[in-house]
């Protein structure tokens, strides 16, 4: 009976000890944290104001020189939006379709494809009017058809719209027959654009214009 009376006290004492122990360890750690934080944020020997201002100007100039010159295109693959800009000024904004992220495996081989639109900074390599599509292997494999040996069996006209802008590795900004899919992630990696936006992009951009995709 007497022992039973002590059980809650012993238990609460143990819990308190654990809590006090944990709190002490946390406090010690937090002190270390403060010391480390101080080492990141304190600048022990500040250079002279003149030198700092000169350095600031130099860095700002270098950053400016890195920015795209002339017209550049930004593609947001998450929201499927194309923005054409010059400096800070927006010249055109339109809805596009970008990569589906789907995976295709060749049932007869070891090849596989991931249909993502590549991300990063690219530039327009070539601008083509009335482009033809040379269908790659995956276009046949995806449809369960045999891959043709002859080039002429791969060429297809009228599916890329009126214009195409190549940005390397077989990727293009081009038109589409599937305008109802604009705004969705449905492509094999290329950027599909509506007719009016495509014409504006083709007429404003030039070879070398930067394309930034994220």
């Amino acid at each position: 009976m007497t022992n039973k009376k002590f059980v809650p006290w012993v238990l609460s004492g143990l819990v308190s000890l654990v809590l006090i122990g944990a709190a002490s360890v946390v406090m010690v750690r937090q002190r270390q944290v403060r010391v480390e934080r101080q080492s990141y944020v304190s600048a022990p020997a500040l250079p002279a104001l003149k030198a700092l201002k000169a350095k600031s100007r130099e860095l700002a100039g270098q950053l400016r020189r890195n920015a795209p010159q002339g017209v550049y295109i930004i593609i947001d693959t998450g929201q499927n939006i194309l923005t054409m800009k010059r400096g800070d000024k927006v010249l055109r904004r339109g809805i596009v379709s970008t990569g589906s992220g789907n995976v295709l495996e060749d049932p007869n081989g070891r090849r596989s494809w991931v249909f993502d639109t590549p991300r990063g900074v690219f530039s327009v390599k070539a601008m083509i009017r009335d482009p033809y599509w040379v269908r790659p292997d995956w276009a046949f494999i995806e449809e369960g058809k045999p891959v043709p040996k002859r080039l002429d069996e791969r060429v297809e006209g009228g599916v890329l719209g009126e214009y195409a802008l190549s940005f390397g590795n077989g990727f293009f900004i081009h038109g589409t027959l599937y305008t109802r899919m604009l705004g969705r992630n449905v492509t094999h990696g290329c950027v599909r654009v509506g007719d009016a936006d495509l014409e504006a992009v083709y007429k404003t951009a030039s070879v070398g214009s930067k394309i930034i995709i994220f």
Binding site: Q79, S100, N102, G120, K210, I212, F214
Partner: protein
Amino acid sequence: MKKALLTALIGVTLGLSLASDERSQLFWHNKKAEAELALAETNAVYFVIDAANSVIQFKAKGVVLKEWKMVRFSCRALAWPIVSTTLVSKQAIVVPKRKHIDPKKAEEIGSYELSALEAKDMPADYVLTLENDLKIHISSQKEKLLSFLSHWELSLQQGIFEEAQSVWWAAFKPGARVMRISLVEPVDAGTLCWSFSNGMKGLILLKTD
């Protein structure tokens, strides 16, 4: 005479103090610019988590591509040096999977069947693991409130677990650094998750004063 001397002394002290402030601000500004310049010189898109201005920016070549407003930023424990860091992985309870195209079904369903991985499929509550064991928990304010109300038991459980985990990390895993970020809408957290890709580099800027 005494009054003039006193005024001059106050003036000089104030002037020195302001100059020192300006030097300190410029020093940190230059440190940030140097770190960003290294990223802007590459052909990659990079992120800037700017706690001082409560925004997350995606940039390339120094140009802001998109930004998300942070409604809450908390950094438990360690501060972060002004050097670039790399995103190692993203973790969520429900991870969206890439769909596999089955060529055998192509004729049955048609080639343009809409079945893709999109930003709307992205989780609104997830953890980013960066270099040096830094973990950033991203969620949305709205969803937190809604999920708390509709799943209060789970929320309490999660709240207690997360706090316990923070204490555990602070006490026994000093290398682990934890930051928490809340965005306004779940869709913001989803699009941000979409835009982050493994291997991406970026900067985390905390207040330096």
